[in-house]
């Protein structure tokens, strides 16, 4: 396991890798992440020029395209030395675990990838493991359940952190989710190319969500969130999906 923020001094300032989906579809998630960080005395910069980390192309096998996007993202993030916070487990996993392999044949970029990976954190991981915060002072209402998105869960070991953060949100009732660690069927282009299988996996996830009796499903990855929310809406369900950052931002 990689070392957490090496200085032992808690960082007072971070860069936000906002991700393409949050930027264009769910800006409120990015803004909520900023609010939570700032509330805990961490100032946030959002490096200009960031676009997409390249994960869709990487997962589809188009590694030349993925490489170009990885190089671009590394250039953007390397301009400054602050830690990088990503409100998305799968994009964080991409930066942390795949950039170096993808760029192994280009020493200059492989080095950049290694350096950037050593200071990149998923949002809840940064709060709990780096800042040492579990109580964000958030309050909420209603019944809340947690879906453990796969890349965060298995790629980064993110599970205990979001659960600990949710545990300290006042006013909510937490409901267990059956098969919380089973994939919702998103998988990027998988949801489109293998739409029928993905749809069947989604149906199983939605059944479990309905069974949990929660009115809000919390995720740490907006891509899974978009998938689950889209499925709930298609079913006419009143259950809503929210990113963890949004839950933590509300008081």
């Amino acid at each position: 396991m990689r070392l957490l923020y090496p200085s032992r001094v808690k960082p007072r300032s971070v860069q936000l890798l906002v991700t393409c989906l949050i930027d264009h579809f769910f800006p409120q998630t990015g803004l909520a992440a900023v609010e939570v960080l700032e509330r805990h005395g961490v100032s946030v910069t959002c490096p200009a020029g960031q676009t997409c980390c390249g994960q869709p192309a990487f997962n589809a096998g188009s590694w030349n395209d993925a490489r170009a996007m990885a190089r671009h993202t590394l250039d953007v993030l390397s301009k400054d030395e602050r830690p990088i916070v990503v409100p998305s487990g799968s994009c964080a996993d991409m930066v942390l675990h795949h950039y170096e392999t993808l760029l192994a044949a280009e020493p200059a970029y492989a080095k950049k990838a290694h350096d950037v990976a050593s200071r990149t954190y998923e949002f809840s991981q940064f709060l709990v493991d780096v800042l040492g915060i579990t109580d964000t002072g958030a309050t909420g209402t209603g019944r809340v359940t947690y879906h453990a998105a796969c890349h965060g869960l298995r790629g980064l070991g993110v599970d205990r952190q979001p659960r600990a953060l949710l545990e300290h949100v006042r006013g909510i009732e937490r409901c267990p989710l059956r098969d919380a660690d089973v994939c919702c069927g998103f998988g990027g282009l998988f949801a489109v190319k293998m739409a029928d299988i993905s749809g069947a996996m989604l149906a199983a996830k939605l059944d479990a969500i309905e069974e949990s009796r929660a009115d809000t499903v919390v995720v740490t990855d907006v891509s899974c969130g978009m998938h689950v929310q889209g499925g709930l809406e298609r079913r006419g369900s009143r259950v809503r999906v929210r990113h963890l950052a949004e839950v933590l931002a509300s008081r």
């Binding site: 096998g61 170009a68 998988g187």
Partner: protein
């Protein structure tokens, strides 16, 4: 190994079969629970898995040396070992041997490698009789079906399906199929005669031990023991990767195999066979007079040393199938390959090439559940990604994905263009969105809206709001739901 139907048609068939999905869902859930309970009973399961991985890496890293030693030992104990570079060589060896020895009838114990080389078809084409003796495989044979799981071949069938097969194919009465004990007793009566009259027994091999030339064969029904000891000739088919250097290594691997597979501590029968029956002064009373081991390569040696080499560590426990949410929805037949599920999605194209199997590496959401449960920690998602990259380089896959990703990349490395393209797309989608969602997308994206709504793009991106926020400094943030 190719299937006549394209992948998406097989998936459609599987998803439309509620009975199949119910049977597979229940059976895999039971196996997942069984595995967890069995591993919880081990003092240090994680260390054992690390050790298992080390043993497999060591065996495969020196495979030539291990195989040479294994062959020497098999021969030293009076057996015959032959090398089969491909399926044709392997099946021809058996057919020629059966003819030379005047064998008319063959009993078989469950074996995936003989499924891979389509041994039964070759035996029957040669005018010989072959009977599967594992209960599941017996039902498969009667049904002219294929196994849909590497450990539990009839995981896709219900008890009622099997009762119907017994009545239709082998004249079972209502009393014979009244309950599961009656059905197994019925099959046992039928098979007993075949064991006693067969001239040859065919088995697979779970592990071949290099230091002793021993074959380890694990079964739960005892049919394996009858197959390997009653007929006069025993022919074992072994994938060349199934080698372990020492008996001590076997001790570790056996602890992992049944626990990961069926949740047992050990399979009910774990047979260790070294050479044929010994004649002379220290004569053994049972066992075959002749023992033949057919070492099947069939594409495996090309995988060695490649980025997919790790898939040869697989000990065929089937844990990745049970854990895979894709397998749980579609079952084994939809994969169209002898080895289904995550391991099959790597192994099949690795040995068979991507020309026929380029869909399989894409039949995964890359959730990583397979890697999490693998007893020897095979990184299946990594190899699925490598195969996807290979498929893309070889030009497999839909054109729209290639063109779409190329265009996306073109804009993504040009931030100003990326923003502009984003704005234009947002404007276009706002025309078709209702209440912030889109219910029907065009072209290939229609796959998404077949099962889910698609969100409209935000009227103002994060970056735009961020800029505005900096200017107003400290303005409130609205945080509506996703």
């Amino acid at each position: 190994m190719t299937s006549p139907l394209p992948f998406h048609r097989r998936v459609e068939q599987a998803l439309g079969n509620q009975q199949l999905r119910g049977a597979i869902g229940r059976a895999t859930a039971r196996k997942v629970e069984g595995r967890l309970a069995a591993l919880a009973g081990l003092a240090d399961a994680d260390r054992l898995r690390d050790e298992g991985r080390r043993i497999r890496a060591n065996a495969l890293g020196r495979l030539d040396e291990q195989l040479t030693r294994f062959v020497e030992q098999v021969e030293r104990h009076g057996g015959t070992a032959v090398w089969a570079p491909d399926a044709d060589h392997a099946v021809r060896y058996l057919v020629d041997l059966a003819r030379a020895r005047g064998v008319k009838s063959i009993v078989k114990s469950k074996s995936m490698v003989t499924e891979e080389i389509e041994l039964n078809r070759a035996i029957e084409a040669a005018g010989l009789r072959v009977v599967e003796t594992d209960l599941g495989e017996y039902v498969i044979q009667l049904d002219h079906d294929h196994p849909s799981h590497i450990v539990a071949p009839i995981i896709h069938k219900t008890r009622q399906d099997i009762a119907a097969t017994f009545k239709r194919e082998v004249g079972a009465t209502d009393a014979d199929v009244a309950d599961i004990p009656s059905m197994t007793a019925f099959a046992r009566r039928k098979l007993r005669q075949d064991f006693l009259t067969a001239g040859m027994g065919v088995s697979g091999v779970n592990f071949g031990i290099a230091e002793t030339g021993t074959l380890c064969i694990c079964t739960n029904e005892g049919n394996g023991r009858l197959t390997t000891t009653v007929p006069r000739i025993h022919v074992a088919f072994m994938g060349i990767e199934r080698i372990l250097p020492t008996l001590a290594d076997l001790g570790i691997m056996l602890q992992l195999l049944a626990r990961s597979s069926t949740g047992q501590k050990l399979t009910a029968y774990t047979n260790l066979l070294t050479g044929p029956r010994r004649p002379g002064l220290d004569a053994e009373s049972d066992g075959p007079d002749e023992l033949h081991v057919v070492l099947v390569d069939n594409g495996r040696s090309h995988v060695l040393g490649s980025e997919l080499a790790e898939i040869l560590y697989c000990i065929r426990c089937g844990a990745c199938l049970n854990a895979c949410p894709v397998y749980r929805q579609i079952g084994g037949h939809a994969y169209g390959s002898v080895y289904p599920g995550p391991v099959g999605a790597v192994f099949t194209p690795a040995i068979g090439g991507l020309a026929d199997w380029s869909d399989l590496p894409h039949a995964s959401s890359l959730c990583g559940a397979c890697r999490e449960v693998c007893p020897v920690r095979i990184d299946i998602p990594r190899m699925l990604l490598a195969l996807r990259a290979r498929a893309a380089t070889e030009g497999h896959g839909p054109w729209w994905a290639r063109v779409g990703l190329r265009a996306y990349r073109f804009t993504a490395v040009r931030p100003t263009l990326f923003r502009l393209a984003g704005r234009l797309t947002a404007r276009a989608t706002s025309l078709v969105a209702r209440d912030g969602r889109i219910s029907k997308l065009p072209g290939p994206l229609a796959g998404w809206t077949r099962y889910r709504e698609f969100p409209a793009m935000a009227p103002r991106t994060f970056q735009e709001q961020w800029k505005g926020r900096r200017q107003e400094s400290g303005s409130g943030i609205s945080s509506a739901g996703l």
